[in-house]
Structures are given as structure tokens and as C-alpha cells.
Symmetry: C2
Subunit: 257 residues, 2 copies
């Protein structure tokens, strides 16, 4: 009669996915918008199949790229197994975007006028265990005298509110820009359009995970946003993962040096 068993069916399991838990590398990958899955108890949230498979529900391609990076860096990967339409794990419970009533142009009827009980259920089943797990991994590394470089992997839609976005890779940061600066310097002259805090920045509230896990202890960190048309198939995912791996390796060794 745990929280989990009251919220998820047995087949659904639980909220947090962890891969490569015994990894030896410094990087810790986090993917908050990895999945479009809606827990059975919520049905469709009143949405069409198109919306339920769109970028409103998840960051298409982000988990695939995060998995490739997990292999390349020998990095532990923590990801959310359910859609951000139910709880957006990159937002605190006090943010209106945590259980959004609107995403871009889509109303989300299943999130209208949520009761306090419903908000508690989602916070308790989806948000808290996710960030507890990340905290636990970081605390364990600190106890073992190991580093933790916090890297969150996201994707964004090429067309938003009807406008095409030119940026291809966003390197986002909050008040600690060390890793982002080094990556942006390394990306100069590359064939991809790599921008700082674009198409979102800390003023949009997207650096919650960095604020929770990296800033308090001064851990190196960065949030990566990839335009999702560039990672729509395995070949492209591998190419982008290769690009990001090289960029970040170079950046990390320039900082260490």
C-alpha cells in the first residue's frame, strides 16, 4: 500500500529510470522529459493522439541521445518514465508549469482545476522520487570523493507558435556558466548553429534541475537543448551524440587543466 502502488499499475512500475548506475565517469545525465507515457489512471488527459505524441508530451529524441552519451561518457543516466504533461520534473511544485493547463497552443483538460489531493499525488509519485534519486547519486559520489558533472538533455520543436527556430543546439546555464562557456567556445566555427541560452534561458524557469542539484555545491553543469528535427532517427541521434560528446570532453578537459 505504498505511494507507488496507489499511483501506478503493477505493469507501469515506478517513475524513475536509472541506467548505467555503476558508471565510473564524472558525468551524471538527467533527462526529465524522456517519455510521452501517461499513467493509466489519467487516460488521455482529454488530449488527441497527435498532441499525446507531440513535443507537448515529451522531448522527442532526448532519451535516445542521452543513452548514447551515457555509453560514451560511462555516465549514469536518470530519466523520468512518464510524461511532463502529468508532472514536469524540471519545475518545482509551486510553478504553474509543473502540472500545466496549457502547452504551447494546446489546452490540457485533464489538468484543469486540480485538487490539492491530485497535486499532492503527482508531486509525491513523480517529482519527489525523481529528484531524490538524483540527490542520492550525487551525495553518494561526494561521500566517495568522486566528481559529479550535471548534464541535462532536452529537445525542442523546430516550429513554435508558428515560427521556425534557427538555433540547432542550445547550451543553457544558470548563474554558473563555466561548462557552458567552455562548450560555446569549443563550438565556434562548427557547422551547427550553437547558441547560448536559446531557445530558452534561466528566465524561463528551465534551469530547475541545475538549481536543485548543481548550484548549491558548485558542481559543473549544463543544460543541452537539441532541435528535435536533428535527432529524429538513429543515424542523426548518433551524429549529434558524437558532436556533443566531443564538445563536452574538450570543454571538461579545458576546465580541469
Amino acid at each position: 500500500m505504498t505511494v507507488r502502488s496507489r499511483f501506478f499499475t503493477e505493469a507501469e512500475g515506478q517513475a524513475v529510470g536509472v541506467e548505467n548506475a555503476a558508471a565510473k565517469g564524472d558525468v551524471l545525465l538527467v533527462c526529465e522529459h524522456a517519455s510521452a507515457t501517461i499513467p493509466q489512471k489519467y487516460g488521455t488527459l482529454g488530449l488527441s493522439p497527435e498532441v499525446l505524441s507531440s513535443h507537448a508530451a515529451w522531448d522527442p529524441g532526448a532519451l535516445a541521445v542521452a543513452r548514447l552519451l551515457s555509453e560514451k561518457f560511462d555516465a549514469t543516466l536518470v530519466y523520468q518514465r512518464f510524461s511532463r504533461l502529468v508532472y514536469d520534473c524540471n519545475r518545482p511544485p509551486e510553478s504553474p508549469s509543473a502540472m500545466p493547463v496549457k502547452s504551447e497552443i494546446y489546452d490540457i483538460p485533464g489538468n484543469f482545476e486540480l485538487s490539492e489531493a491530485e497535486r499532492f499525488a503527482r508531486t509525491s509519485a513523480l517529482y519527489v522520487p525523481f529528484h531524490d534519486r538524483v540527490s542520492e547519486i550525487i551525495a553518494k559520489r561526494q561521500a566517495d570523493g568522486r566528481k559529479a558533472v550535471v548534464v541535462t538533455i532536452h529537445s525542442f520543436t523546430p516550429v513554435y507558435h508558428g515560427r521556425f527556430r534557427e538555433v540547432e543546439i542550445g547550451i543553457l546555464h544558470d548563474s554558473d556558466s563555466r561548462l557552458a562557456d567552455a562548450m560555446l567556445a569549443g563550438a565556434e566555427g562548427s557547422s551547427l548553429r550553437v547558441n547560448r541560452n536559446d531557445p530558452y534561458g534561466p528566465e524561463d524557469g528551465v534551469t530547475h534541475t541545475l538549481r536543485l542539484h548543481a548550484l548549491p555545491d558548485g558542481l559543473l553543469n549544463v543544460m543541452i537543448e537539441i532541435r528535435n528535427d536533428l535527432i529524429a532517427n538513429e543515424g542523426d541521434q548518433a551524429a549529434i551524440a558524437g558532436f556533443l560528446h566531443e564538445l563536452m570532453e574538450k570543454a571538461l578537459s579545458s576546465i580541469d587543466g
Copy 2:
């Protein structure tokens, strides 16, 4: 390296206290403001010893009365082992009163400009496990075909913002007033001044626990506020517990009948 072990010292233990867990009675007692204890990591929150032992930090006498009622009703009692100055478990994380910057006339410096990481730590260590435990107990009773009558026990200060409060016992309710109505009817003609939704009511946001645990499933519920000068010593606590026990027993059987 659990949340608990990162938040509390070993001696402090954990946030939730449960007494009489194997109780056979229908009543489930909840005491959110049972304790004035501040976890060691927060020191004094910048407050004087006077404030730290005052009604700002806890509901004096409430836990003592709840314990007496737990015995009389053979009721399970769930209480918070730490001060509401750190997290007020009768408020959701999105409420400004959850981690208050001011209580009555006192500023709370240790709560000024809390980071998202700090808010998460408190929500995760104090609020979520508390209400998870209450939910778990109710779900278990429902699975066993047993009733759960949710009763929260609070106390209030006789003088607030310089004004004396005439009310002695407040019977508070949200949208479901069945138990409160029956108790108020039973209190007519008693020597104590027993009022409805006084000195607080649902519009003050004080019915969060009732909204979380009783309203969704239509469980009988009530919130009891006792003026704390009436429960300042053991004799008075016993007298008030006796009064409330009789009042609620009568009310419950009038509803059952």
C-alpha cells in the same frame, strides 16, 4: 545516503511520528503542528528562544490532547516531529505559508529567499513523507473495509495581533460539514464557547489536510482548534480531551444512526 540521512542527524530520526498504529477504532488523528523542534541543520532560523518556543513554532498542547484522544478512541495518531517554521505540513508546497517568512508579528530570517534546492529538501524530507504516511494508513483501512474518520488537532493563541479571542474551541470544516455540524449541535448549551470555523476557516487555507485525505473519498472529517490557554497543563488537557471525546462520540453515533 537516503533523503532522511542527508536531512536529519541520526539522533533526530525522521519526520513522521506514528502512535497506536494497530488501533482498532475508526478515528484517525493527525497533528501537523505537534512539535517546536528545529532540525539541527537550521540552527535557530535567526529567531529568539521566546519565538522558538511560542505558538509561532508549534501548537502548544495539541499533541498532548491528541495523545489522550488516541487512547480514548483507540485511534492511530500521525504527527509531525518538527516545527512548522521549517515546513508547515498543513500547507501545500505552492502556498507561501508552507515555509513562512513571517508568522504573526515575527519575521523568520532563516526562511528568507529560500533556494529551489532548499524548498525541495524541506518538501521532500518533511511534507511528502508525512502525508504519504496518512494516505497509506487510509488506503490500508479502505482495503480492509474499515472506516477512517479524519480528525486534525490544533491549538491557537489566545492573543493574536494584540486582540484577545473569545472563542475557546473551533470546529472547522471544508465543503463536507457533516461531522462538524453534528459536533456543533452537540456543543450547544455547553460551558465552553464552541464556534464554527473560528478563529480560522477554509478561506485561510487551513483545511489542506482535510482536502488531501478526507474530501476525495468522502470520509467524515473535522479540524479541531483549541485555545491554548485551556490546555496548558495535564489536568486541563485531560478535561478538554474528555469534553472533545464525548462530543465527537455523540456526533459520530448520531451520523451512524
